[in-house]
Subunit: 407 residues, 2 copies
């Protein structure tokens, strides 16, 4: 069960210049959508970030080569098979799929970017995907964001959609995005599939910088199990349909408000992945302040967010703050003065000066731990840097899902 | 249930110069031994390594101060309470215990080293410990190694003892050691309590070097849950009773065989902790060869050993080798040529040249995965360095233990 507010937005704005379709191609399972095609207008600028895994999947390798050559016109995503650990054969299959789509759509094969998610190490059923292309292309529609959000899911239990409208100087910009992922989640440079589009007109170089920046605050700050995927990819498209005026620098008056709106959409999509983390019963925000550098704040936040002992204590609603301190202790800050460290859970201060807070009670601790959404705030009291990571608890269900499911 | 051969040795050699006792002092639970005192002969040299956690526990701080001043004569260990995250009060209580023992034994308080293990963040019941000292001292005996091994346990299900005799040039040396730990196990410089003694006569400086070296191959190469404890400590004592001839350099003819025997004892004690890992059903050796440096081999081994997806796959006996590749991929070797990587499970080659091995069958994979002891051998094929890490799987029982038990 996903944690907290995971509702699909009441209004999902279509993005002029983007059409989508979801098709049941039978890649691994019958009768569920497993093939999503996204068509991008010729006018658009597109930015991409991909996994830093050395074992990146075949589609990621192909995607990087294609993206280096030309601007994308089609994104094609299959679920059920990650096409990772599949060697030269896997790469050839990813190329075949792109070529088949390109010939049907009459575009350059390099303008098609492939994405895959699912089991690692099995040959991809590229024939099934190619057989589904005619239907996929025939069904492209600007209002298919929710269908696409459902079509890219694997062990996810909910579709993940965020959508915003920003009106600046009489111009209305729209941003809509979808994401997927609930296990093997500790993205490094991107998540296990996120697609965001806006109708804003943003220069390609600037768009890539914006993607890198917002990604760093969103998909690169979530963890479910600490396992970085072989297939993580995130795409940001600016179709430019809303205005002929190009936003080409951070000094442009619309840049900052658009950046904030994009950040909100990205953070929402990233948080939805954690809220739908495998077996999750709690959504935790690990906020570390008072660091000398953001890196050390990030290290502490991840140490806490990855600790199986912290995660099982949250599953049990047990205010076992000693486990949080232990994780802070091994996070690698060698000269940390632990007698300055404080820890609170939401509004309840549990630890001050490295030991239990004077007015802390177990009752208060257990009450706050029983809530589904908890902010763990760790103050290191040695500087002004801060960082935040989002994670979930570790439950029986996590073990069950990953012991049962060949993912 | 602990995994594989975890039997106590048929012969546990007493070490001349060492006496031990285990007492039920009622620190946290009634009617179980929770106070262990080890008496060390005046002649002995002692080496110590302690946790690198910034949040190291009060007894660890006291121990470091005492050890810097004089050679230890008594080690006092309580279970049930780690005396960690307890600030100045915790340190005072650890000092009080040392002083109380010192006055009864008529030694310098600095020659008493305190050790604690158990729940973090609660005040230590030092009164109960002090009240138990007379009994503890009265019961000291050279043949109490097994009682002491039982007396230091917490969530452990088995006592952990290793013992060896080495005869060199007609001189018989004995080595006996005990350890404890099954959760919060990812020692960094030492384990959650290991005590090893030999009657060899080894110079103190050399002994410290030997401890650092053997520790690096044993306790510093195990992980259950990746959580480094606040209380990890390991002690190596050489009583010198066997001979007046001091071993004071690696060139001494007895150095190398003793070093090998010590390594065997340490590796056995470390492996026993993993075999008794919380909820463990499988014992896994992650051996990485063909690296450019041992550090990168170690990084890869830990990435695999810490991956919850790998650990749950082993729990399920599912030969899901894609998860192993994924962990190798995110271990941080940026220029890894994945097409050279091979992976085998015991004698079954599962992955060659970065993809499934040509003669691999699911049947063979599932058969080997069903065994309780599995060596995951990852060859990086880029150099001659290697490293090995020991770990266990992640089961329902792990979550149950850590969601139920306030440790």
């Amino acid at each position: 069960m996903a944690v907290g507010n995971v509702a699909v937005p009441e209004i999902i704005y279509a993005i002029d210049g983007i059409k989508l379709s979801a098709t049941a191609a039978g890649v691994r399972y019958k009768d569920r959508d497993d093939l999503v095609v996204i068509e991008i207008a010729d006018s658009a600028a597109t930015a991409v970030v991909t996994t830093k895994s050395a074992f990146c999947a075949a589609p990621v390798r192909v995607l990087r080569e294609h993206f280096a050559k030309t601007s994308p016109r089609y994104l094609i995503t299959n679920t059920g098979n990650a096409n990772a650990g599949t060697g030269a054969d896997g790469k050839r299959r990813a190329e075949d799929i792109c070529a088949a789509l390109a010939s049907r759509a009459e575009v350059d094969s390099n303008s098609v970017l492939p994405f895959s998610t699912g089991v690692i190490g099995e040959p991809l059923n590229s024939d099934a995907i190619i057989a589904g292309l005619d239907t996929a292309l025939a069904n492209l529609d600007a209002d298919n964001w929710l269908a696409a959000a459902n079509g890219i899911l694997t062990t996810d239990t909910i579709p993940k959609v965020a959508s915003q409208k920003v009106t600046l100087d009489g111009t209305s910009y729209h941003i809509t995005g979808i994401s997927k992922g609930s296990g093997m989640i500790r993205p490094n440079m991107a998540t296990m599939l996120g697609y965001v589009a806006t109708d804003a007109n943003i220069a390609a170089d600037l768009l890539q910088e914006m993607l890198a920046a917002v990604n760093e605050q969103s998909f690169n700050r979530i963890t479910v199990d600490g396992d970085t995927s072989t297939n993580d990819c995130c795409v940001l498209i600016a179709t430019g349909k809303v205005s002929s005026q190009v936003i080409d620098s951070p000094e442009h008056p619309h840049y900052q408000p658009l950046f904030i709106a994009l950040t909100e959409v990205f953070v929402r999509l990233a948080q939805l992945i954690v809220r739908d983390g495998e077996g999750a019963t709690k959504f935790m925000t690990v906020k570390v302040t008072g660091g000398k550098t953001s890196q050390e704040c990030c290290d502490v936040a991840y140490a806490v967010a990855h600790s199986p002992l912290v995660k099982t204590a949250f599953f049990a609603s047990d205010a076992n703050w000693g486990r949080i301190l232990a994780a802070v202790g091994y996070a690698g800050i060698e000269d940390l003065d632990t007698e300055q460290v404080s820890v609170s859970l939401n509004e309840v201060m549990i630890c001050q000066n490295g030991t239990v807070a004077s007015d802390y009670t177990e009752a208060a601790g257990n009450e706050v731990m029983s809530r589904p959404e908890i902010t763990i705030h760790i103050d290191l009291a040695r500087g002004t840097a801060s960082d935040t990571v989002y994670t979930c608890d570790l439950s029986y269900e996590y073990v069950k899902i990953n012991a049962d499911y060949r993912s």
